[in-house]
């Protein structure tokens, strides 16, 4: 898989970030394993230390397995003044996990996110690449049950 992704981008040092993004998105656990990083290092000819440095610099990358759906809740000022803390509490309460944790069934991970550019529909969250705005308890419940049914 790693090899295929690298070939689709071409063997070029500057493609490191897009390659790591694709590798992470290609697996259900949305993370980069130690083996992934080693393979990328070998195939791109970049020292492991630098691959590791990049993989730990950007907040999108995770070196730990995560859930199928990653729920990123914005906690910047425009969302906070429109109720982001309630949104965070609702998600934590319903899923029974804390921020940064994954549900035992491996379905959901809760994360903070910086501004999603969705301030006109604050409070907002991004779930596996999709934006959800104007969140309230009812909407959060229905989003989660929709995702569970998928």
């Amino acid at each position: 898989m790693v090899e295929e992704i690298i070939n689709s981008h071409g063997i070029a040092e500057d493609k490191l970030v897009p390659i790591l993004l694709d590798i992470q998105n290609s697996n259900d656990k949305h993370y980069l394993s130690e083996d992934d990083l080693k393979q990328v290092s070998r195939l791109l000819g970049i020292p492991e230390s630098r691959v590791y440095s990049v993989a730990t610099f950007y907040s999108f990358f995770s070196l730990q397995p995560r859930g199928k759906y990653i729920i990123q809740i914005c906690d910047n000022a425009p969302c906070i003044v429109n109720g982001a803390y309630n949104v965070i509490d609702d998600f934590r309460h319903i899923l029974g996990i804390d921020m940064g944790q994954t549900t035992p069934d491996g379905l959901f991970t809760l994360e903070y996110s910086s501004c999603l550019g969705c301030c006109s529909h604050a409070p907002a969250a991004r779930i596996s690449g999709e934006l959800y705005g104007d969140l309230d308890s009812e909407k959060i419940k229905s989003i989660l049950s929709d995702l569970r049914r998928r």
Binding site: A12, E13, D14, K15, L16, V17, P18, L20, L21, I46, R50, S53, V54, F57, Y58, S59, F60, F61, Q72, D75, N76, A77, P78, I80, V81, N82, S113, S114, C115, L116, G117, C118, C119, S120, H121, A122, R126, G129, E130, L131
Partner: protein
Amino acid sequence: MSDLTVKRLTQRCGDIDPRDVSEYISTGGYKALVKALLTMKPQGVIDEVKASGLLGRGGAAFPTGLKMQMVHDTPGDVKYVVCNADEGEPGTFKDRYLMEGDPYQLVEGIILAGYAVGAQKGYIYIRGEYDRAIELMKNAVEQTRKIGYLGNNILKQHFNFDIEVRSGAGAYICGEEFALIESLEGKSGRPRYKPPYPPVSGLWDKPTLINNVETLANIPYIVSNGSKAFRSVGTDNSAGTKLICLSGNIANRGVFELPFGITLKDIIYDIGQGVPGERELKMIQIGGASGSCIPSDMLDVKLDFADMKKNGLSMGSGAIIAFDDSRCVIDIVKSLLKFFAHESCGKCTPCREGNPQLYNLIDDFSKGSATPSHYDVLQSLTQTMQQAALCGLGQSSPMPVVSTLLYFKDEYDMHINGRCPAGICSSTNGGEII
């Protein structure tokens, strides 16, 4: 919709199918590109941008024409145009609006900039959170390539140019120009020492024009209609329009294209329709997370680079976040500092160590454990960061602290005395910190 708004950069947003290049063309799109390539020399394009008085819209307000001239004049066969679409400034969503509403206008702006400075390749670096904008920009580049406006010998001229869209991976610092360039090169996004600046030595140490989305999106209008038409809106020193993003405790949230010269009061009360509910406006933060926080009695300031500077403000990215009187200034500043402490890249000490320390000091106020000597520490720390940090992040992150100490000092004093007037910092009751 308020009649104070202007439809220039946003004229097509919402009215055309952003996936369909023919809708862009049928509404005057790519007219500027044809005009420039067939009738203008690169220097002519630069002269027109210079005459327009266009200032960079990403926050620094550097004259765009001058920057283009520097890239143009720097010797070298290989040059780049980089579009900074890493719009991470909290409360800012204008670039997203432009990319999702009219992606071709940005593509056209980048091609024109490439023609002007003598570049062969352009990059659009879009923050990873903007999934839809990334998809639409990739499509716009592909469609434009299909009709021959990207590629080799564009319009049968000796001009080869192509664009690649790149996604960020969740790092606010990559909005800083050199951090973005480092990221494009496949590295961690940490700023470089300046000088040399990107027009002399940028991407892969080549001359690089790096501009914000909104800046580049202005170029087709300037080339099509001329600098005089461009200057017909705005003020003498701030020509054209500015996209303003209204968010927070404000009734009409969104992106609005406004002429320079109108007052902040008009923006908040006419366009934004004021604070919702029975609440009063307490404070606005202008320019993004590192912008100044000012009280509601300072709204006569004009949306104008010079007038704002005179009043110690910066337009920054064009974000205006409103806070009503139920909000605690200390709590807001604390949340901003948490953000900066998290987003600091760690390269320079003033920023890496300064932001967490600032956070701790403000946290003392919110816990009721601050003392009057905190003010001295805050002053010396904020000054150190402003003067010694390597890039704009660490230099400007103390701004919310500095500006609230100036305009909301009484609220800091109250917290020292164990009282949070908004009742937010207290753990148990209406305002007393236990």
